[in-house]
Symmetry: C2
Subunit: 491 residues, 2 copies
């Protein structure tokens, strides 16, 4: 995950080629037959072949139950796949000898909706008996999408015209198999957000030190220069520190989640692994949606620090914004992640999932209650942690009367949860920093404490707004009819 | 201003050509000689010639005191202008016979800094004795900037190689003359933000009614269709209503400000005009910065409503985001507007400027205190109005000790001010709507009341976060040194 962040910070669009191959390899590893594994896995891991995920169709993305792509039994264990998929990242290119598409399609007798979806592997070139590239399959790129960003990645319309494919996993269980890839992909997209924040921050910092403009409000800071470097201005510092706090806080969140993933995948069965599995489920939508939302904000702060130059392509800062924009959308929009968090993870467990985490935070706050060095962090964290539970209970009660209350509160709930989660991790970082202020890296730890303080004073107050919006309920959203939205300009 | 909004909603990049001509004509009308007026005004107003504003240079935008472009006396009343200007919108094109550049430059004996800047008119073709296009002047386009957005406008690097120019207004008073254009331009950019919100909202609304995806959380809404239109989902409604509330609230703000401008330009001297002039000064940075900030947010909500399709160019939604991005930067960034509001307008008048407005709001709240139909608006508005004064006093007190406190609070202060201003205007709209619910347009007024209610419940709570951040002070911003920002990744 640390390497992923570096790849995303360096070239997000390129990083998607190995990223999708990784996802395809994971799905085959977990759900493929031995023959499929031996045919595809080595090539995918070596990077000689690359992979894709073919889910979306023109009329459906979120609602995969609506897909129209069909799979009809053909010779032996093969199927003939027919349909059109859109937004297929890395769908067609010359970077690899072969492209292995993992495709969602419906069998002839499939039940309606999302329970009737199966997963198929459809290679661009059918492997021959030796496992090398053989006959061309009937899958082709219909066109390249013209997008706002990630121009370095070929996003394709893919046409399957009776292409030969093979079932992966059981019939009609394709969505569950695809979720193996999707959960990893969601964490991956959160890391994309993080990588972009770091890239934007590093560029912004160097620009803010170089660019001379105006004098400091309280007097000249660089009297030998025609003006002061803009890093002296408090509002520029506010923007830089916003990037810095989201980069450092986001990195803690990703690594904390990675620890849970390690425990789930490699730990011994038992309480610790159960705890990790619960937290992984809770944190996945937060990593995905919170880090991409604040990633978009942070890359925009980067443009703002560059002023007019930020809008000019040659500086590279506006590209980070355009690349960041997709991360709020793909692998499930922020709205979908928010429903997953509040509806599926928290409320469906009667709040038990959340309690696993708030208990951990509560334990930390209690243990540090008498630590004077941490008072500025532990006091507000403890209050927020309690409020988090109360807000959840409040929405849960309302939702028992009206399910729309869940959707009305969900995005604010997700953002609130993200801010509190980062506050917990910053408090832990502050604990470590506060006892390291005398060592060799004392300047580093002093800066870390400063960033934690900035986070608590200048970013965490956003929870106040989110809390009130969560509590405001669904009525102001649902009262107006679809027709009445346009009164005043529609005739 | 109403027409401006429509032009911006339709084609912002094109609208800049007449917009800049308008600004150039204004500057010449106010500061030009009779000869300059007769030479340029008719052609500019007819649109046969267009205008530009040449301020920015590669090393300075905000800090115009640093400009290097020089003006040396030449034949008669002419000057030879030499220097390079960048980011010149409508700088070179074939849409008009001639392009009239208004250029900031320094005379040989000019004082240092912003007090030594003069304004010159530099036509692309020197008008002949009959006032027609004559000899080509030594001003040329060095290159076109490659930008994130507003691709329909030619943004140019302009080289002046001893170009012939004529002084406009007194020597060394160029910045004051340019401010004639700049205040109008700032209102114009605020209206660009508004136009983009409206365009994004209208598109989003029509997409949200058409796009079928998932079933409503509380059951099927369109049982005859394979899925429900996404406008049934509360989170989609939250995004649509955010756009709608900012469009309607922003329009009220622009028209309220336009009334003040009319009074200032055409009213009789006296108390009413003084009041209008004060409010115009106070509201101009709010119109510029608040409407472009929420404009960027709203166009992004538009992309989010379209899901993955929003990221694809052919739908047009991502273009609105890219176009909106520049509005937070040009004509003074949000940070510069915020310093103008808090530092120049509010604190330099010891808060008197703000009091003129908060008194007006207070009067409204008092008059409606017993109106049960307005209670849900007047109660929170009245509290916020009082808090606005207290926050101002708080920053003012701190700023007496440390000027950096102004810059630390400024952007949050501007956003807070914007939210309260829109709350006042929505309360007035609600007053009118509440007595119009029985008339012919009752559905329209019911929708207006609903939008006001949404604004108060779902957007106004953001003031809570801004208030706390304003109060948090400068220390967490200023404590860390420029060097220590990079600890952890710089060697």
């Amino acid at each position: 995950m640390l390497l992923s962040e570096m790849i995303c910070a360096t070239n997000l669009a390129w990083g998607m080629y190995p990223g999708l191959s990784h996802g395809a390899a994971d799905a085959l590893k977990h759900h493929g037959t031995d023959e499929q594994k031996s045919t595809y896995l080595t090539k995918l891991v070596e990077g000689v072949w690359t992979g894709t995920m073919c889910l979306t169709e023109p009329h459906c993305g979120t609602d995969l139950g609506l897909i129209k792509t069909r799979a009809v039994p053909a010779d032996g264990d093969a199927y003939a796949i027919t349909g059109t998929k859109i937004f297929i990242s890395a769908g067609e290119h010359d970077l690899a000898e072969n492209i292995i598409h993992l495709v969602l399609a419906k069998l002839p007798d499939a039940p309606e909706g999302s329970k009737g979806i199966s997963l198929f592997v459809v290679p661009k070139f059918l492997p021959d008996a030796q496992g090398n590239v053989g006959e061309r399959n009937a899958v082709s790129c219909g066109s390249l999408e013209h997008k706002m960003g990630i121009h370095g990645n070929a996003t394709c319309v893919m046409n399957f015209d009776g292409a030969t494919g093979y079932l992966v996993g059981p019939p009609n269980k394709g969505l569950a198999c695809m979720f193996t890839m999707m959960n990893a992909a969601r964490l991956g997209v959160g890391i994309q957000g993080l990588g972009l924040i770091e890239a934007s921050f590093q560029n912004s910092l160097s620009y803010a030190r170089d660019r001379l403009q105006m004098r400091g409000l309280s007097g000249k800071q660089a009297p030998d220069k025609p003006a002061d470097p803009i890093i002296v201005h408090p509002d520029v510092r506010r923007m830089l520190l916003t990037q810095k706090a989201f980069a450092e806080g986001g990195r803690m969140l990703v690594l904390y989640t990675a620890q849970m993933l390690d425990l789930v995948e490699h730990g011994q069965p038992g309480e610790e692994r159960d705890h990790a599995e619960t937290l992984l489920g809770l944190l996945t939508p937060i990593v995905k949606a919170f880090l991409t939302e604040v990633g978009f904000e942070s890359t925009n702060e980067g443009v703002q620090i560059y002023g007019g130059h930020g809008f000019i392509k040659e500086w590279g800062m506006e590209q980070l914004v355009r690349d960041a924009r997709i991360t709020r959308l793909y692998e499930g929009t922020t709205g979908i992640q928010a429903l997953d968090l509040l509806g599926r993870k928290v409320l469906m467990s009667q709040g038990e999932t959340l309690k696993v985490f708030t208990k951990e935070i509560h334990k930390f706050c209690k243990a540090e209650a008498d630590n004077p060095a941490l008072k500025e962090f532990v006091v507000p964290l403890s209050k927020l942690n309690a409020e988090w539970g109360e807000l959840t209970m409040g929405v849960g009660m309302k939702a028992m009367q009206d399910r729309e209350e869940v959707g009305a509160a969900s995005v604010d709930y997700l953002m609130y949860s993200g801010y509190v989660t980062l506050a917990y991790l910053f408090a832990r970082a502050a604990k470590h920093a506060s006892v390291s202020l005398e060592g060799d890296d004392k300047a580093f730890y002093a800066a870390k404490l400063n960033t934690a303080r900035f986070y608590y004073q200048r970013l965490l107050p956003r929870t106040k707004a989110h809390a009130q919006m969560i509590q405001s309920g669904a009525s102001s959203l649902m009262a107006i009819s679809s027709e009445d939205f346009g009164l005043g300009f529609e005739i």
